[in-house]
């Protein structure tokens, strides 16, 4: 069915969307001998949402960067509203009305939300910054996004999801007529995603066009009018409608059939490894949470952003303080004063943000894996670079990391970076492994590899806890699912009870 070559056959529905606003013709980009973009052509109409899919490295970012003026194409041309368009800088693109919302946050943490929204174009009155007007307009945008927070709040105090929404609010004030959203929902929970989609819908009706990049394929049918798929720098498929089965999209992205996404999990043992009793956070982020995870069992934690999931697992891993309650591993109650305490008791955490909490990006893969694992590398009190390299190389092979021990961590793709963090955590030989959002911002193929790793940990007899905002992931990967809402355990679902509907019902309770 609808796998078609480049040219679009216009359906009556899409021709109603209006005239072509952006056309891209035969655009290529080469770096030396490496071609990252080959002869890409497509059109975007006014008021249309086009989903752009592809694995990491397929060329989506390069294409977006060319449209947004960050990268100059080697060949080809573009037309914007009928005029030739060749932006040399991002501000050329912005002035023409094209904006790119990055996957990575580009906010200034020490400035307020309002200042971040208006940075570079602060409203002034008689030469001075008009704070009143700035806060009023920022507040207006935040309200439009349903974000209940003062525009005077410094961005550094916001969680990842709220920071993302500030980025979007910023774009909304730009009066852009064309927006590229790069993974806008990667950090959002269900409710925030719905709000974002309402916004896109509204702007679309005002005639704004979108390129929507996402790894969450379930979203595509909800938000996009059309889908284009890239692979290895080429446009390989062009679906006239977004109502395409997810399996077809995945097939187009990876170039072959994917029979299943989640690995098979053997039944867990009945030997409880970790027991959490009436745990409450010192900062009030979660209250009275209890659960048990057995050896060989995978427990998912679902919930909307702000439900206290990350705070809960960080506390269990000793990273944040606990007020009351207890955590036992293998029947022994443990003290949790620092991450070192938790690790000594056999709890390992793969944190939420691999770039800020998981990796020293400037250091080598070898040093990143060795960090905190020196007692496993050698029984002596000193260690040689060769021993570190050998230790890391073993872990690199075990986890299928595409890189060498001497390569720096920031040269790797997100999926491989995530595997480095997992490799370090597992090298410590833990009994309990906690993974917080292990596949955020990671492409489909690499996700499967991470799922396989998680299943393998359970098979080896570890108790595994996976926090994820991706509902299908939580359901597909876990024996049971703990649902959190407003800092409380809303129930643990397993087997036939664990359905999307049941989880969402409790998550929004």
């Amino acid at each position: 069915m609808p796998m078609q070559p480049d040219q679009t056959i216009e359906s009556p529905a899409s021709s109603q969307a209006g005239e072509t606003i952006l056309s891209v013709r035969n655009v290529s980009k080469t770096y030396g001998k490496i071609t990252v973009l080959k002869n890409v052509s497509f059109d975007i109409k006014k008021g249309e949402v086009v989903a752009l899919l592809g694995e990491n490295g397929a060329g989506k970012s390069t294409l977006s960067s060319i449209i947004a003026g960050l990268v100059i194409p080697s060949e080809g041309e573009m037309r914007w509203q009928g005029e030739p368009y060749s932006p040399a800088t991002p501000s050329d693109a912005l002035n023409a009305g094209l904006g790119l919302i990055h996957q990575e946050m580009r906010l200034l943490p020490e400035l307020s939300i309002a200042e971040n929204i208006f940075v570079g174009r602060l409203p002034t009155r008689s030469g001075r910054i008009d704070n009143f007007e700035m806060y009023r307009r920022a507040d207006e945008q935040l309200k439009r996004l349903g974000l209940n927070v003062s525009p005077a709040t410094k961005v550094k105090y916001l969680r990842v999801a709220a920071q993302q929404q500030v980025e979007i609010a910023k774009a909304l004030t730009l009066n852009a007529r064309f927006l590229i959203l790069d993974e806008p929902t990667a950090a959002l929970g269900g409710e925030e995603t719905d709000k974002l989609f309402e916004q896109i819908e509204r702007l679309k009706n005002e005639g704004v066009s979108f390129i929507y990049i996402s790894h969450r394929l379930e979203e595509i049918a909800r938000i996009a009018d059309r889908v284009i798929v890239m692979r290895d720098g080429e446009l390989v498929a062009n679906f006239d409608s977004a109502k395409v089965p997810v399996s077809n999209l995945v097939e187009a992205m990876v170039g072959r059939q994917l029979d299943r996404i989640f690995p098979h999990l053997p039944a867990p043992t009945h030997k409880p490894l970790i027991e959490v009793k009436n745990l409450s956070s010192a900062e009030g982020d979660f209250h009275d949470v209890s659960f048990t995870v057995s050896a060989g069992e995978v427990m998912g934690i679902a919930g909307i952003v702000g439900a206290g999931r990350t705070e809960l697992v960080r506390a269990i891993a000793g990273a944040d303080p606990v007020k009351t309650g207890s955590v036992s591993v293998d029947g022994k109650v443990i003290t949790l004063k620092s991450p070192a305490d938790a690790m000594a008791a056999g709890i390992a955490l793969v944190p939420e943000d691999r770039k800020l909490q998981g990796l020293v990006l400037e250091h080598t893969i070898g040093n990143n894996i060795a960090l905190g694992n020196y007692p496993r590398i050698t029984p002596r009190s000193w260690v040689t670079p060769t021993e570190i390299r050998n230790f890391a190389t073993t872990a690199i092979k075990r986890f299928g990391i595409k890189g060498s021990a001497d390569q720096r961590a920031n040269e790797l793709s997100g999926g491989n970076q995530q595997k480095i963090v997992i490799a370090r955590a597992i090298s410590a030989g833990p009994k309990v492994v906690i993974l917080d959002e292990p596949t955020r911002g990671i492409d489909v193929g690499a996700r499967s590899a991470i799922y396989d790793v998680i299943a393998e940990l359970a098979k080896q007899g570890m108790a595994v806890i996976v926090v994820s905002s991706d509902l299908d992931e939580v359901l597909g990967l876990s024996h049971k699912v703990l649902v959190m809402a407003r800092g409380r355990n809303q129930g643990i679902l397993s087997g036939a009870e664990a359905t999307r509907h049941a989880v969402m019902e409790r998550a929004t309770a």
Partner: protein, 326 residues
């Protein structure tokens, strides 16, 4: 399933190449300086002058070892020059005014430095002050205390065996203070490279939150590093007092900046996570050779200041450019 190939950045070379590139900049600079002064001054290239340079850089070198540890963890220690003066005065007061045996007074001097460093460490980890502010405060306090002890007067009259530590070349070769510097540099280099506790410092400087979540006690390590930096300032004070044959409350004025310059010329990054003792030693010698050579050529101290500033800027520029190109 999931044998999906991902694009991996092609990468050749690896750690050995990057090591050579990182080291070659400062080392080449030092060699060029030596060649230049050998050609322009008839006195420069001699064993005697070489040993002179070693004597002259000892105090700076001992301070720079501690500063390297501090900069590797992403910190800065502005107090080392003043802590040096305070430790020196404590030692003098203990021996000359309270009549303690000099051996014990030396221990008190080093301990004074360690305590001052520990105070900086606690201000940073417990009071959560930025390192710059914490050590700036300690710098001011200790310089004041150094002057209060004797109302600004110097202390003279150390026994001969003490001054001979810095002046008598054992076996016609190294004075004990120079030997101490060399031994300390080797120990510090080994710790930083081969001891887990040393390697952890790079992780703390690279990203303290990552280090903490990996099970490293970041606060404890930070306190230990600043205490070591202080203790080394105390030891540098002993070496300096032996060379001056006195204790001066104004000693070490501005040394913190020379020390930071030496460490940075040696390739360390002020944002933390990068640095080495071998680089720092080269940085120390670049400053030492530059001063010595310019003195031999009779260049005025004012012009020397200008040239040293230019060298710092040039060294770090080349290093940064080289790192970007990698």
């Amino acid at each position: 399933m999931s044998e999906i190939t991902e694009q991996v950045t092609p990468k050749t070379g690896g750690i050995n190449m990057s090591f050579v590139k990182k080291m070659s900049g400062p080392l080449v600079g030092l060699i060029l300086l030596c060649v230049f002064f050998s050609l322009t001054s008839e006195f420069f290239l001699s064993a005697r002058n070489g040993l002179n340079i070693l004597d002259q850089v000892t105090v700076l070198g001992i301070l720079a070892i501690g500063m390297t540890l501090v900069i590797v963890i992403g910190g800065i220690d502005l107090s080392v020059g003043s802590v040096l003066a305070f430790s020196m005065m404590m030692m003098g007061v203990m021996q000359r005014q309270l009549g303690l045996p000099l051996e014990l007074a030396i221990v008190v001097g080093i301990a004074t430095g360690a305590i001052c460093g520990l105070v900086s460490g606690l201000l940073i980890t417990v009071a959560k002050l930025p390192a710059f502010i914490a050590t700036l405060a300690v710098m001011s306090v200790t310089r004041g205390l150094a002057n209060i002890l004797t109302e600004g007067k110097q202390i003279v009259g150390y026994p001969d065996w003490f001054t001979s530590l810095a002046t008598v070349r054992q076996f016609g070769f190294l004075s004990l203070t120079v030997a101490t510097f060399i031994v300390l540099a080797i120990i510090a280099a080994i710790i930083l490279k081969y001891r887990p506790s040393g390697r952890n410092l790079f992780a703390i400087g690279g990203n303290p939150e990552v280090a903490r979540l990996a099970g490293i006690n970041v606060n404890l390590n930070t306190c230990v590093v600043y205490a070591l930096s202080g203790a080394l300032a105390g030891l540098a004070a002993v070496a300096f007092a032996a060379r001056l044959d006195s204790s001066q409350p104004s000693a070490g004025l501005g040394y913190e900046l020379d020390t930071i310059a030496a460490v940075v010329i040696g390739g360390a990054s002020l944002s933390g996570g990068v640095g080495s003792i071998s680089g720092t030693v080269i940085g120390v010698f670049i400053i030492g050779v530059l001063r010595n050579g310019l003195n031999l050529l009779g260049v005025s101290p004012f012009i020397q200041q200008v040239l040293i500033g230019v060298v710092i800027a040039a060294a770090v520029t080349f290093d940064t450019l080289g790192r970007k190109r990698r």
